[in-house]
Amino acid sequence: MTILRRLWTPRDGREPLSVPDALRRAELRRREGRYAEAGALVARALEIDAGNLHAHLLAAYLHVARRATAPAKEEFHWVLGHDPNHARALLGLARIAFEERDTRTCHDLLRRALRFYPEFPEASALLELVRAREAAPPAPVAPAVPSAPRVERLRLPGTGRALIIGRADGGLIASQPVTDDAKDVSEALARMLHVATAVLRRAALGPLHRAIVQDGRDAVFTRTDGELVVSLALPRATDPTQGLLDVNRLWSATQHELGLAAGPPAAAPSSTPADTPGAAPTRRVS
């Protein structure tokens, strides 16, 4: 509440507004993505009625919308302190727990929500996602590949910035260049693909095969078959078609080196010159 007031201090000379009116207007602003205005109205409602559960719930939503996790948790907990079975607050906290990689807490909160409100599609969808994640075996230390891989022979395209070869469970098979955080990147990649797979399934689009994620620096091209993951970071400006060609080439080469493909690696050329033999070696994690 203190943080909310600090962020959205109401202006002076404002018109009189009842708590229900303020919250109704706040809901409307929220529906339009006008979070700051909604927050100001919620703050006004809470000034009049500090114990208003709806206002605290709205405050929590608005904090989440602004990616402010800590105050959102505080508000959701406040709501649950007054209504321990409040399904929306339970879902809100479950979502935050998922973000914080606290799968067990997320699972427990969703089950609590669904116990009282079995017809809760958002909670059901998230629980399905969490259960699928829990069902996946933990990433083993050694890669589960049928034969000794020779991934050190793989080469990045000339503009390639990083290559991650991993499994869908997050286990790292190899990386290039050698970095300490490659294992974390592989796990994060697998987790993201797992969520994306759930979204695609929910949209009836079928199993995930390729992904391109762009940020301010890179475009990360990924190919997967649900077991193996090959991910290549290229400059952001890379043409999507060329990036997909590059990752396809590495996919085929990886399958060949791992003994997963019968034939030789695909001969699709890279758009850019391959690294010289003296370039950074690929690290095999085994």
């Binding site: 700051a36 998230l126 987790r191 391109i212 940020d215």
Partner: protein, 140 residues
Amino acid sequence: MSGPRLKLALEHDSASRGRHVRDIVQELKRLYGVRGALIVAPDGFVIAAELPGTVEVDSLAALAATLGRELETSATRMGRPSFSTALFSADDGTMFLAASRIGYIVVLAEAQVSVQAIRVALADAIALIEAAWAPGEATG
């Protein structure tokens, strides 16, 4: 947030941005090869949606917001810039996800849709949102 900015937003834009956001989704839906589109807040709240009747909106929105947050939180953990757009290609279609100041824009399209065309449309949509939502709006 400054007083004058809030006043301007409250007095002049009270209804227009609600229509505006729906227009953005409808424009995306009209693109060739696009099956549906939605804008979902980071908390999973559906701001606007134009989806096929076979898709359960709230569930999809909840998962799409989870995916958007996953991309953001992973980037933060890795010390990387947050994602701007993402594309996920599957057997029966392609999903696009773009980050905006009010939430995530999701486009569901045919598998063979023009990636470039959708990317340009998403960039336009984000620019429209940026223009319509004052810089102080989503940040307070």
